[in-house]
Subunit: 359 residues, 2 copies
């Protein structure tokens, strides 16, 4: 059987504060080079460049990020099949509906957040190939990240009956568990993390939304009908799109659908959800320090030094996170990066509503 | 006896690196507000404002600092009696000679570095009054800072015979001692720190230089003769002044002169020679943190936070020095600020020669 072409759909959403002061509403995480010299958006696009497998990507992003996104993709010679600019974020159900309605209904869509790191892209591609077999048969496919710790911050997916070729029917989606359950899931080996990566035929997804979230589908359709197409981008009508119900595609559709498959994949995945997470995956020097930007560190161990602004000059430090931009310097012990959100709230009140769509 | 008017001579020299990244050649320590809202230069000038005791000050500074010095003094309504701008630094003997040659030979000159902090200016003024009695009698007077620790980084002065009224003849000047000697000096109570603050009649100082360092005096005189007087400042000729031998007034004159007195004074003095020294004297919050600039520190203790640039946001820190400017962020444990010089040398090679004069 010939492998069909798959259309990658890159979701550039989020205005998270967990990587403050680097990630900011006007320049979120995926637009930064966190774990290398490419930005996470660029790495996401680069992962699906093989033209034997993939079409050019569809990019769904906030209107306010249109320019840097176009520039970053142009810098790696990626020309999107389409760019859809959301005037306001309405979560992933709306974002996915935009992609499905705008393209070929027979296309297989590979939905990917743009702010994840995947250390083993070869395994990712193998999983996508396995998922395509199921998607061709009408399954909505989700990829289940093999857990590496008893994480309480993610949702889990319980495998059901095997479908063959590396895929399982989904028994059920599980909300973020408490510590005890997370330990059980990790030990049991039947649960995977829900990483928000999906593969399905556009037509099947739209049919599912028609049944399970018809209001979202109708509202997105209306916003597109009244929208604009210029400057190479699709822009849904702002007022109509603002009226779309904000829900994740997981909740709106996958958890309710009868034909959902999971393809487990162990691919050194990270959502880089904190400075500690970045230190975990980052390349380190002989002293265990990860460094980005201009950094002079003497006699220091197991620190994260990240600057996009002033030069960092340090001596005698251990287990410290130091992040510097032109506007702010964040310093806290490693293992405490969950405090960033609270600190940011004290520095600047959060925006009143989500700034872009996709997660 | 009527107290004669004293002319303060403020030496704005130095291009030290120990308070890097704040102190820089183009903006040395004394031009910053380190321990309050006034700069150290302003605090130095403010200390000698009583017009019943002092004339307006003579300021001796590097040409390159002329503008900020004029602005900072104007901001506190101090109009210098004279400003002498050195094209290049030639240490304190040359700087003091400039002041003495430019003014009234009968004036009493109070020589003061501009980058010291004095917590008890009342005691300083009392010591100056005591010193004036000796200076009137032809003594070159030095003020001996009462030691508070066995410091090995300063020179010491051993008291000789009492001259009365709080003054002693100087037995001898002692170079920076080793730890053991420093302990002995502290315990013995006969040694004071040499803080580089002096008081003498201009005529007596010039006569002393004529005997003990005639080359310096002649060279400074020549540089003044060929110099310019414009824009309200005296500017010795650059080539001639560059030829002046660079030596401290202590070495060139006071250590050789037969008529030198010391007035001991306990005045909460600090030369703020390091970030640790600044933390020692700075005002602190309830958690022992000293803060300057925009700082948010949560759950942190005994730290120094100093920013003139990016906002510092910290949590969970203890005993840390954090200094941020637009160009650099310095981070190191308290007690290790002597490492700054070495770090700076690695960041940027030091200038080839001293940049200004007075110490």
């Amino acid at each position: 059987m010939t492998q069909p072409l798959i259309t990658p759909v890159i979701l550039s959403g989020g205005a998270g504060t967990r990587l403050w002061p680097l990630s900011l509403p006007e320049r979120p995480k995926q637009l930064h080079a966190l774990s290398g010299t490419s930005t996470m958006l660029q790495m996401t696009a680069a992962r699906v460049r093989d033209s034997a497998l993939f079409t050019a990507p569809v990019v769904i992003a906030s209107t306010r990020h249109a320019e840097p996104i176009a520039a970053q993709l142009a810098a790696i010679s990626v020309e999107p099949l389409a760019t859809i600019l959301e005037p306001v974020g309405r979560n992933t159900a709306a974002a996915v509906a935009l992609a499905a309605l705008e393209g070929d209904p027979d296309a297989l869509l590979l939905i990917m957040p743009s702010d994840h790191v995947i250390g083993r892209p070869d395994r990712f591609l193998a999983a996508v190939a396995a998922g395509a077999v199921q998607a061709e048969q009408g399954y909505l496919v989700t990829f289940g990240i093999t857990p590496t710790r008893a994480e309480t911050g993610y949702g889990y997916i319980l495998r059901g009956a095997p479908l063959g070729a590396g895929a399982w029917a989904v028994d059920r989606f599980v909300e973020k568990p408490d510590r005890e359950r997370a330990e059980q899931y990790l030990a049991g080996g039947q649960h995977d993390w829900n990483g928000g990566i999906f593969l399905f035929r556009a037509r099947d997804m739209l049919a599912g939304l028609e049944v399970h979230a018809p209001d979202i589908l109708a509202a997105v359709r209306a916003a597109l009908a009244k929208g604009r197409r210029d400057l190479g981008a699709v822009q849904p009508d702002a007022a109509s799109f603002a009226a779309v119900r904000s829900q994740s595609i997981d909740h709106a559709l996958l958890e309710r659908h009868e034909r959902v498959a999971v393809v487990p994949v162990d691919m050194d995945w990270s959502d880089v959800g904190s400075w500690d997470a970045l230190h975990d995956i980052a390349a380190k020097d002989a002293d265990g320090n990860s460094r980005s930007g201009e950094v002079l560190a003497q006699d220091s161990r197991n620190c994260l030094f990240h600057s996009t602004g002033p030069r960092i000059v340090a001596a005698g430090l251990e287990d410290l996170i130091v992040v510097a931009t032109a506007d702010a310097v964040l310093i806290l012990p490693r293992g405490q990066s969950q405090r960033v959100k609270e600190l940011v709230d004290r520095v600047a009140p959060p925006p009143a509503r989500p700034l872009s769509a996709s997660e």
